[in-house]
Amino acid sequence: MTFPEELKYTKDHEWIRFEDDDTAVVGVTDFAQQELGDIVYVDITTVGQTVEEGEIFGSVEAVKTVSDLFIPVSAEVLEFNDELEAAPELVNEDPYGKGWMVRIKITGSTDSLLSVEEYKELIGE
């Protein structure tokens, strides 16, 4: 399993990457996709909405299970990665790249995010 150094993480197994323009991109970690198994549907219900830190911004459906997605920081959800509509398996194949889920505009604090070391410790890596 890989956990890129430049990303921040949450205890709910999302990652967040800060972009230059005040936005950020969010997805689920390699650990999360492995635990879920084959992902067959990513259901994002909050595009255009403002979501408070820790609230649900969508769901990810694997063959055997469904899991809520929690927003890592308070933010406005700008965009869903619509490639996942037809190819949800990208989340398994490339969780930090083509499997990204939403682009957000951060409106709140980023203090509670975890560093890569803290995240690895959390999952016992």
Binding site: E61, A62, V63, K64, V66
Partner: protein, 366 residues
Amino acid sequence: MTDQLKTVPLNDLHQKLGAKMVPFAGFMMPVRYSSDLEEHHCVRNGVGVFDVSHMGEFILKGPKALDLIQRVSANDASVLFDGKIQYSYLPNEQGGAVDDLLVYRIDEEEYFLVVNASNIEKDWNWIQSHNTEGVPMINASDDLCLFAVQGPKAAEALQKLTSIHLAEMEYYTFKKGTFAGLPDIIVSATGYTGAGGFELYIPRYAAIHVWHHIFEAGKEFGIKPIGLGARDTLRLEMGYCLYGNDIDDTSSPLEAGLGWVTKFTKNFINSEALLQQKQAGLQRKLVGFEMIDRGIPRGHYELCDAEGNALGHVTSGTQSPTLSKGIGLGYVPTTYSKPGSEIFVKVREKLLKAQVVKLPFVKPTV
């Protein structure tokens, strides 16, 4: 809880093979080795092996064994002949089922019952409590491993290991014979996948030997170990009931569609009440449904009408790997049970359209 979980004899091997192990029915079981979808397609199109050694096996012997089975089981075991298997269930006295099971007739005075892992103790005690004639019973659950070798290539792969003519065997029959050099192995043309194949009851001490022989024989067919995840999607595509989900201690086996294994030509536990229920007409039925809107039904989700009024609930649901859409089983009022009926599944507070369909969802190859 963890310290109470049992392991199957090949537990270490599954871990070495990379299986994700999860608690299921009181055992640590492999849920997935690589990918649920890959494993599912491997069984539908080729051949795969499930270690389902958690299942329970009882042997009932003697001249009164059949009488006892006839009393506790809803199906009519008197029609069995040597080498024949039947699906049945154990009715309780409250209108539900203690378990569902397979009944094998070894010979006139020996029967072999295969029960669900989570119910081994419950079933044993239940049958014993009705064993007024002192029928000798053996619980072989800890002594036997069960490998389900399933898929269209299963017969060809396994044929290398036995002189029993596998391709000739009819569904729901078994033969006892030499398998991988071991004598008196039960080779059963059964399974829980609709993909064809065999179930092998192997003495615990020989389990690893037989496992390796099966994988050697199946190599040229791309044989793979298959987890319980794919087992569930395979059985659900067939519309097979899973005890604890679709049937249980409280729901009516008749409503669950098990009328075909409920034989009122004999007396059995609760047969009078079940007959009355049948004659009065069923209020609700277990149906299969396919999603029309995009979404995946899961156990316990609510089933509704177009206005959002509750009709019942989903008992099993998944994304069908074969059909690439959501499928499920659930109870609805009889008026909604006809194929084509439109129902709705409440998924995260949204009503998603679905349609009742005739089972199975996918055409079996057995």
